[in-house]
Symmetry: C5
Subunit: 97 residues, 5 copies
């Protein structure tokens, strides 16, 4: 899964009918490194993406995102053209020393 | 889904029979960052791609693109060799302050 | 789909039995930008790949390539280990002013 | 499969119901090169990812990670939104001269 | 398919049961360019990966690798967590002038 931060909302009036009612967020992949003192550092890396959200992720929260056909497994309807969904909100404690 | 801008049309006379009648656009992935004053900035990033369009996206519009097997879920015929389709046109207000 | 240029042929004597009879080409992904005068510019970008070809693409032609499980939809036999096929040859006029 | 090193654990309280009970690790892809004396060198390269672990991989171990729909083949339930799992722990001797 | 060179073997004692008996190799993707005199040049590019091998590829040989769900089509058992297999060994003559 992609490790990412939520950085925005997406509004789309004209879209595939099957996507109506879904919430879409802009996520920014981040990469994890450790400073010499062992503290975790998250750095933005690579292109922003759009993911569907069904679990209520909020602005600036860290999330895990499933991609590809696996993303569809998390939707009530497996047969819609969605290739990324947020499957978990990462606890704040995860990257704190 | 990929966040991208429509930057051109594709004309292809010799193609797989199953693709006849579909419209193909060149899309350029963009990444979202924020300036210090909070305004959104979209920067082109990575390779241009080709996506099928069924919702009438126009030149320079921002779109969301589904890839892989998920793209086929958005087509009337799920069994054709298409791996990217435009599933939504992003409202202009999305990235305005 | 990937926007790419055909840059070579691949010869493979020892291969999976199910691939016998298929033609394989080396393709180089390209990205599209526009010069100030509006003319299109195609720049090689990223790794060369190998794609199966069933429509007779020739050296230096621009093509669109479907990847992943979608590639298999374009083959007579959907159950062989192929993850990229050329699905269209792009008309020369596409990127001419 | 991705060649990667385990660099952290992920805690996620709010997540898709179907993911409960799974263990998630942060993995860092590495690339292999050889020094002039033939010794192997592993360098971190690209974005950290999150993978499910069912075989007990530990911090700093090298692992092989299956992605996409293939990842789901390694789970008891193939229909959950997981796109990366650790499928093997690489023996320490692999990259020792 | 990925164009790659075999650069090592992988030993993994603790792995998913379904992977027992398979041979795993480290492959390094390469990209093809041409020198001014028309001779082919292969340059290492991007992350090393791990692929299953069923056709006897050897150290330093060039291979073509199928990824994703397509990789599983080349296995006797389609339902194991493998996302990359070597499907062909590229003839030495391919990239010789």
């Amino acid at each position: 899964m992609i490790l990412a931060r939520v950085i925005g909302h997406v509004w789309s009036t004209r879209k595939e009918e099957s996507l109506r009612g879904l919430k879409f967020l802009v996520i920014q992949p981040v990469t994890l490194t450790y400073a010499e003192d062992g503290s975790a550092k998250l750095t933005e890396h690579g292109n922003s993406l759009i993911a569907a959200d069904q679990i209520g992720a909020g602005e600036s929260e860290l999330v895990m995102v499933a991609s590809g056909s696996s993303a569809r497994q998390g939707l009530a309807n497996h047969n819609i053209p969605i290739d990324a969904i947020i499957v978990g909100i990462i606890d704040k404690e995860t990257f704190e020393a």
